[in-house]
């Protein structure tokens, strides 16, 4: 086969939720989540469906337990992160086209600026400054959560809600790069 590689992904697996993660974890459908209750309910549910509980059951029960646990883990992971939770909520209303290119000029300027800062930090290898940069990003990231919480239920503000999710995703990406830089500087 000449073309060995596979082309880039089209749709992420979260675009079409099959069951409701909130009901699975016995939580009210809301962007604001009681994290202690979330992990408590997760653990209780895990006790019921984890494959370890079916280690000497029939193969059928074992397979089922793997399936259910995987689903539960995905639910937990989705609801734990505010970015994934926000996206999930919007997708429940109506699937969001994540590949679409959207204009967000104001934010675009910000992005460029962060990229430059990150590059400078990467060159200067200034760990203290990197720490400050990280704090600032985290702060901004937290503000996005607050903004999103205020608008996501309002259908007329859907566009804004989507824009906020994209910003969250972008900030997460920058924070991930910060972590990678930290790792590199740790050598």
């Amino acid at each position: 086969m000449a073309n060995a590689a596979v082309a880039k992904a089209l749709v992420s697996d979260m675009a079409k939720p099959t069951s409701n993660f909130f009901s699975l974890l016995e939580l009210p459908l809301d962007f604001t989540v009681d994290l202690a209750l979330l992990s408590h309910n997760y653990r209780e549910a895990a006790k019921a469906v984890h494959p370890d509980r079916y280690a000497s059951a029939s193969d059928q029960d074992k397979r089922l337990a793997v399936q259910r646990s995987a689903e539960l883990n995905q639910a937990y992971e989705t609801l734990k992160s505010t970015t994934r939770r926000a996206l999930y909520l919007l997708n429940l209303q109506e699937p969001m086209d994540e590949e679409a290119t959207v204009q967000d000029t104001e934010f675009f300027m910000q992005q460029i600026q962060w990229r430059e800062e990150l590059e400078d930090l990467s060159d200067s290898e200034d760990i203290a400054a990197l720490e400050v940069f990280k704090k600032r990003l985290r702060q901004l990231r937290g503000e996005l959560d607050i903004e999103f919480a205020a608008v996501w239920q309002d259908g007329s503000q859907r566009e804004l809600a989507e824009r906020l999710v994209r910003r969250m995703q972008f900030l997460d990406k920058v924070l991930y790069e910060v972590r990678q830089l930290e790792e590199r500087l740790d050598d």
Binding site: A4, V6, K8, D52, A55, S56, E77, D186
Partner: protein, 623 residues
Amino acid sequence: MKKNTMALVQIVEPNTPVDKSQPRLAVGIDLGTTNSLVASVRNDVPVPLADTQGRFALASAVRYLKDNTVSVGRDAKQCASCDPYNCILSVKRLIGRGLEDVQQLGEQLPYRFQDGDSQMPLIETVQGCKSPVEVSAEILKVLRQRAEQVLGGDLFGAVITVPAYFDDAQRQATKDAARLAGINVLRLLNEPTAAAVAYGLDKQAEGVIVVYDLGGGTFDVSILRLTRGVFEVLATGGDSALGGDDFDHAIANWIVQQAGVSSDLEPGEQRRLMRLACDVKEALSSAESTLVQYKAWQAELSRADFEQLITPLVARSLKACRRALRDSDVELEEIAAVVMVGGSTRVPYVREQVAHMFAREPLADIDPDKVVALGAALQADVLAGNQADSDNLLLLDVIPLSLGLETMGDLVEKIVPRNTTIPVTRTQDFTTARDGQTAIALHIVQGERELASASRSLARFELRGIPPMVAGAAKVRVSFQVDADGLLSVTATETRSGVEARVEIKPSYGLSEDAISRMLEESIENAEQDRKARGLREQQVNAQRLLETVRAALQSDGNLLNEQERALIDEQLEKLEQAQQGDEIGAIARQIQQLNAATHEFASRRMDATVKRAFAGRQLEEV
């Protein structure tokens, strides 16, 4: 069958053994690089099992002798320098690895290797070529025999521990070794998780626990949160080629340099030198300085000098700790305990460095040589269904290394990131790159590198028969599933045409399914009769177990079925019952399948009900 008189109030647990007075014999096995151990829960306490001479640790050394016998343990280890080609030490460093990886381990291995059919290193011995899987199986066989002797019966199953940082190939190979040894693997368990279990349950601890496990050939670090019997692994990291052996090499190199001898030693001599280096190292754990004598040369090695030799190695382990800490999102202040595991944590410098990094004295009050096996035994006991209240222990582990697919330009598309809780299923859609493309090649890789060529290659397979379409029109859904053992299977489906391909990931460095079956058959060839009888008995036991589980399920949750559904299941129960009394293996297997099919929907409903009950239980508790 006994009638269950308490059926109305009793919730039947899925793992309950058939007869409670007769617990199933289950053990935990720590299959170490240097030493291996087997432990079991007796009278509610996990204890290591000793050999006939009262020794607990079995040296992980295997010697193949001319007379076709195999010796395992201390005797084999002692012959390492006189019979280097036939004595295999530290085979765990080879298991699940390719010949290339092995050569990159950066040490002179005194074996004669041959390329196997699957790039797996085969070791030439007087008994022919042996794969690392077979060598490991010899160690496991001895432990199994020991357990069966001490416990007085056939083993129901075992939990076998692996370094958390083992990749899919290494895990699969370990499981294959267990199969070759005739062991039913209840679960592969990560070593640091096992240690945390032994500690957590013993100390009734709560909160964040860090496990630092430095053994002979591997280093692991895991960060767990323990909440009322649930051990949630938050992050894990490590290095599957870092351990006390490397300390030995550092000393050996020092000796070679100082003594001015050639570093190109013949295998027997190489082994003698390593042995000496190891003795020196262990002596320095209690002495400030020790005299090193090699041939005509001698010199004093101080602990401080030794510490300097191992500084870069220990630093590597600390770096992995910092990374795991970052991944876990846990702050240093949140850590409730740091637990030391593995023989190499006896080195004072290691303890100091770990104490410094976590700003607290690490715990080592459970014997670091035994703690992994003890934790595994506890888990085995739960999995075998021997514990009345299995709610006391649940392990939620993670995959240590990201899983991904190679995409265009040698890039890796990560499908399951490292430290994702298992079991996990992830799907991702891909499309074709060219017009009329009818096949798509999938290359599954593991690791954190961005380039596929720099990652660990797990398997390659092809999805063929895609109807010709324009580029980008086909939709290939690739699904990764990692089970509770951390083992991966992958399926690919073209969703528009329904063409499907499925692979159980058999890593390129393992044994093929055929090879395993062949070896299993060869090993019991002489006992053909025996084998048939055993097969039948096993099938009958399986049938019996299934009958009892289904009946128990019907008693407790029969209300989830309507009359028709119930009648169907009853009919299949009857049929299996009949088949089970006969002696036709095939018929029993068929009926087992039939009953499974008939109860599929029921099982699913029951699982939903169990979840509801779990929540109901909580609400009652909280009122």
